[in-house]
Subunit: 241 residues, 2 copies
């Protein structure tokens, strides 16, 4: 298995043909898995907000004072969220898409302009599916697509890249019911392969090197295609709400 | 970056020379990162228990009845743990090593003998350091080592490979204070690279293919070597105890 950076991408603007940019710079092959940082997808989709245009509510102002944050960003976080999970130093929220993450995935880094931030894509699975079609058109290759972002974790330090949107490959692979090498049924062995693929890709992206896209080549997995939303734990299976 | 399976390893017995087995089958190069599944390390270290020899306490018997588990395994889980974090269907515990995981990492699959289970290594960082020395002796190559296991996550479905023990490379890379591409200071951008490397390796290991070791080649990271224990979130920074 190889993990290859897609180098030389320009700064992406709303409306840009991201699939075209990638296809021009990287010879895609069928079976490749194209992993894109959420931020570049959000930029192409125009999911960028100007903080100077945000109207701050009383709730956002009060919350911002408590956590010593920018009231305008707190307002955007509240707009993107359905529930505050933890409020301490940062806001850990459940977003309207269902992700549990810090600051609703709103990000200020690597965005041009002091007052600009990116939101997560409206529907990362749809973004992945759309990019998959566009990459097929531009390159002729039948690829899979993952839209990824770095999230913090309970119990463990640091952030790790995870799959928000998935198209063209399983997001989870269920080994339950298969026999292991000694003939015993394995239990609770459902691997989040799309998250592991996102994690792999991050290693060649770097955070400052402006490589927001990587390609995983030579990974094969059986099973019906899944979605990023399959990786979101439903409330009734979540012991850590 | 390449992720390469180490194929053809025999079933490992307590006391086996795991580093020798790997070096004989795979031409290691300096800079390689050798990722080993915890289970094969535990087997080599004799961290295997015979369930028929377990004396079950009243506490374990009662807990096993509540979760409909095997009282002998529940006893071993309690022996390996300092705290039960959640108790529902499975036991999520904080192990004596500090990991928060299901069933204290005790595993019944891919272990020969119906009554045998593996425990986590006593000290995965020490295991990694020891393997690193042994691999240097056997192969002449200066490699890094990660001892990894698949853990469940809060909020997300499925399990993912993470780094328990680390030797010879940073476990976290801290980009805070570096400037991003637009000159803004990045915040909260500490990447758990050892976890991402563990995740990458899992993709070529498979769960039934008996490939418990993989090599990541071509990944470079700057910074002082870290340990697996750096990836454990200290209690005072943990909002989800």
């Amino acid at each position: 298995m190889q993990v290859l950076p897609v180098e030389g991408l320009p700064e992406v603007q709303p409306g840009d043909d991201l699939a075209g940019f990638i296809s021009e710079r990287f010879q895609l092959r069928s079976g490749d898995i194209v992993v894109l940082a959420q931020k570049v997808v959000s930029k192409a989709e125009g999911q960028v907000r100007d903080l100077r245009l945000v109207t701050v509510s009383e709730q956002a102002r009060s919350l911002a004072a408590q956590i010593e944050g920018d009231p305008r960003i707190v307002q955007l976080i509240l707009d993107e969220s359905v529930r505050i999970v933890r409020q301490e130093r940062i806001l850990i929220v459940e977003t309207k898409h269902g992700y549990v993450c810090a600051n609703a995935g709103i990000d200020h880094s690597n965005v041009p302009g002091e007052d600009s931030v990116t939101l997560l894509p409206e529907d990362s699975d749809l973004s992945a599916e759309r990019l998959r079609s566009q990459l097929r058109e531009r390159s002729g290759a039948e690829v899979a697509v993952i839209v990824a972002d770095t999230f913090g974790r309970a119990w463990r330090m640091g952030i790790e890249n995870v799959a928000l949107g998935v198209a063209g490959l399983p997001s989870l692979v269920d080994y339950r019911g298969q026999k292991d090498d000694f003939g015993q049924a394995m239990y609770a062995t459902v691997i989040a392969v799309a998250d592991e693929l996102a994690a792999s890709a991050e290693l060649v992206m770097g955070k400052t090197a402006r490589i927001p896209v990587a390609v995983v080549r030579g990974y094969t997995v059986e099973g019906p295609p899944g979605r990023g939303r399959d990786l979101i734990r439903p409330a009734d299976l979540d012991l850590f709400r």
